[in-house]
Structure formats: structure tokens, C-alpha cells
């Protein structure tokens, strides 16, 4: 799994400790209008926005949450990101886009 980015028109809002992923008019054709996500998912989204790949996000989260077992975390992350990709939120960045 390479670098991922959000599809255009998907906006992460942080309002009073809540995180909403909101789709604009164009994005709503393939993704829901609103999805609320938890703090951990929001951190993943923010790291993806900054261009982190799965390995880098895993490194970051292992430090952030003091996790020792890398393989389980990385697998969970891959499943979550795959789901986001299947639901139309994320697209894989081609080498040409980098």
C-alpha cells in the first residue's frame, strides 16, 4: 500500500473535540455527506493528509500510544485504510503525483 490522499472535496472538521468528515457537492456523489470519526481515526486522517504512508503512521502511533506490537497495529491500519478507500474517501497517489 503506497501513499494515499483524500479525494478532492472531503474535509475533516474539528468542532468541540468532535471530528466530522464532510463531503462537498462533488464528493457526495460517491461518499456520504457526513461521517463522525473518533480521535484515533482523526489522527490517522491527519497523518494521511500530511502524506504519511502506513509504515510511517504505524511508527507515529506506536510512539503516541506506547504500543509494542507493531504487526497487529499495522494490520489494523491497513484494514481501516482499505475500508476508507473502498468507501471512496481515499485514493492512492500515483508516482506522477508525488
Amino acid at each position: 500500500m503506497g501513499k494515499m490522499k483524500f479525494k478532492d472535496g472531503i474535509i475533516l472538521l474539528h468542532i468541540h473535540d468532535a471530528y466530522l468528515v464532510v463531503s462537498d457537492k462533488e464528493a457526495r456523489k460517491t461518499t456520504p455527506y457526513i461521517r463522525e470519526i473518533n480521535d484515533t481515526a482523526a489522527m490517522i486522517w491527519q497523518l494521511l493528509e500530511q502524506g504519511y504512508n502506513v509504515e510511517e503512521i504505524t511508527d507515529h502511533m506506536m510512539k503516541e500510544y506506547d504500543i509494542e506490537e507493531r504487526s497487529r497495529l499495522e494490520e489494523d491500519l491497513r484494514i481501516y485504510i482499505r475500508e476508507m478507500k473502498e468507501n471512496g474517501y481515499l485514493i492512492e497517489v500515483k508516482n506522477d503525483d508525488l
Binding site: L13, I15, H16, D17, V22, D24, E36
Partner: protein, 248 residues
């Protein structure tokens, strides 16, 4: 502008919008909220816009009725650039503050308002029965005012406005229970009740900012209810206790 085009002016909470309609009879549905005027229009309805908004009406309706409701969606979006938003809910004045009962359609907002009327009679005055305009004063206070989109019962009157006291999120249940939500808990439920559905990333951020400022200073309660008089009494007593604490 064509020779025949008529322009109408609608004032929402002191903010004036000029419209041009597709159908000559649409203006009648705006009642006393609108008047004919001169000058360039801000919102010109088109057949394309009308089709985009068709989902807002459940069934085949007269063209004027569709246009009236389509203009609600278009206006709600337009108002975002004026730091205003339209929320779905019944609003009324009680104890000099505005209170909004909001929930998805069919949850019993109007029933709840009628229960309040039964309890308090002229002690409450309706602002709007379905879609209220939210705006901010320079010092950040939130104000609620009426709009022409008043719902089936046509509750509301032009020019009626008050500072927002609180919001009640309604849900049907098998018992009556009320609790104050944290701002975090209220975010999603309130966001989806805005009629101002944003088209662009910029509009999404504006709406998020509006909601954040509303929640900075507005208490929100969740009322699980049977839709009976007791549920309204429970709410009234809870809000009264809240106001007593606030006023020392």
C-alpha cells in the same frame, strides 16, 4: 435582465436578498416576507437549480411549491457567505430567549411545540415552525429569527427574533428522559439539521465555524420522549432549573 423579469426582496434577520422566480405565482407562497422591488437580483432560479433541489419535496407538487422549497435550499447556502445558517426546527420565545426544538422530520417537533403551548399558552411565542435563521451579533451572541419556510402548520411571523437560549434535540422513545449533552456529543446531530448544505470546501468550513460558535455558548439537551404533555413539562422544568442556576 429581461423586460418581464420581476425582482422580489426578502429580508431575513436584517439581511436582504433579491430574487427572480421562474414561476409567476411563487411569490405568493412567501406571504408577508417578500415584496416586489427593483434592482439586480442575488438569486435567480433556473430549471437546472430546480431539478437539483427536487429531492426536497416528497412527491409531485405544483411548480411554484417546488420553486419555493428549492429557494429554501439555495437561500440557506447563500446565507453562509453572510455568516448565517438555516436550521430545521421549531423555534419559539420563552423567558425572553429563543429555544429551538430540532430533529429529523417526523420525530414530533410540532407535537412538542403544541405541548408547550398547552402548558404555557401565551407564555411562549413562536418564531418559526420549521426553518429558523441563525445569526451572530458583533459580540458573538446567537440570534434566531423567522423565515418564510414555516412548515405545514405555517407557524411563524416576519421580523420575529430573539437571542438563542438553548437547543433541544428530540428523539422518539418509550419513556421521557432529558439530559444536557456535551458540545462534542451535539456536533453531529446538529450539523445534519442545518438546511445550509454546503457545496464547496469553503462552505463546509464556514458551516463548521458557525456550529462551533453556536456551541461555544449554547446548551443542548437531548430529549427522549413519548410526545406527551409530561415530556414537555419535563423539558420546561429542566430548562427552568438551568436558567435559575445561570441567573444565580
Amino acid at each position: 435582465m429581461s423586460q418581464e423579469e420581476k425582482v422580489y426582496s426578502l429580508e431575513l434577520d436584517g439581511y436582504v436578498i433579491h430574487y427572480s422566480f421562474l414561476f409567476p405565482g411563487t411569490y405568493k407562497l412567501f406571504g408577508k416576507y417578500i415584496r416586489e422591488c427593483e434592482g439586480p437580483c442575488d438569486i435567480r432560479m433556473t430549471h437546472e437549480l430546480l431539478e437539483e433541489c427536487r429531492w426536497i419535496v416528497a412527491e409531485e407538487v405544483p411548480d411554484e411549491y417546488l420553486e419555493f422549497h428549492a429557494l429554501m435550499l439555495v437561500t440557506a447556502k447563500y446565507l453562509l457567505s453572510a455568516d448565517r445558517a438555516i436550521i430545521h426546527g421549531v423555534s419559539f420565545i420563552w423567558k425572553e430567549k429563543a429555544w429551538i426544538i430540532t430533529a429529523p422530520s417526523g420525530t414530533g417537533k410540532t407535537t412538542q411545540y403544541r405541548n408547550w403551548r398547552s402548558l404555557l399558552g401565551k407564555g411562549i411565542q413562536v418564531i418559526n415552525g420549521d426553518k429558523s435563521v441563525l445569526s451572530f451579533s458583533d459580540d458573538g451572541r446567537v440570534f434566531v429569527s423567522s423565515s418564510p419556510w414555516q412548515g405545514k402548520e405555517r407557524y411563524g411571523r416576519p421580523g420575529f427574533s430573539a437571542e438563542l437560549g438553548g437547543i433541544i434535540l428530540l428523539e422518539k422513545g418509550d419513556h421521557n428522559e432529558i439530559r444536557q449533552l456535551t458540545a462534542k456529543e451535539a456536533v453531529r446531530s446538529l450539523f445534519v439539521e442545518f438546511i445550509s448544505i454546503p457545496d464547496t470546501p469553503e462552505q463546509i468550513r464556514i458551516l463548521g465555524n458557525i456550529l462551533e460558535r453556536i456551541l461555544d455558548r449554547t446548551p443542548v439537551w437531548k430529549l427522549t420522549n413519548l410526545g406527551d404533555l409530561d415530556s414537555a413539562k419535563l423539558t420546561k422544568d429542566t430548562l427552568s432549573a438551568y436558567l435559575e442556576v445561570q441567573h444565580g
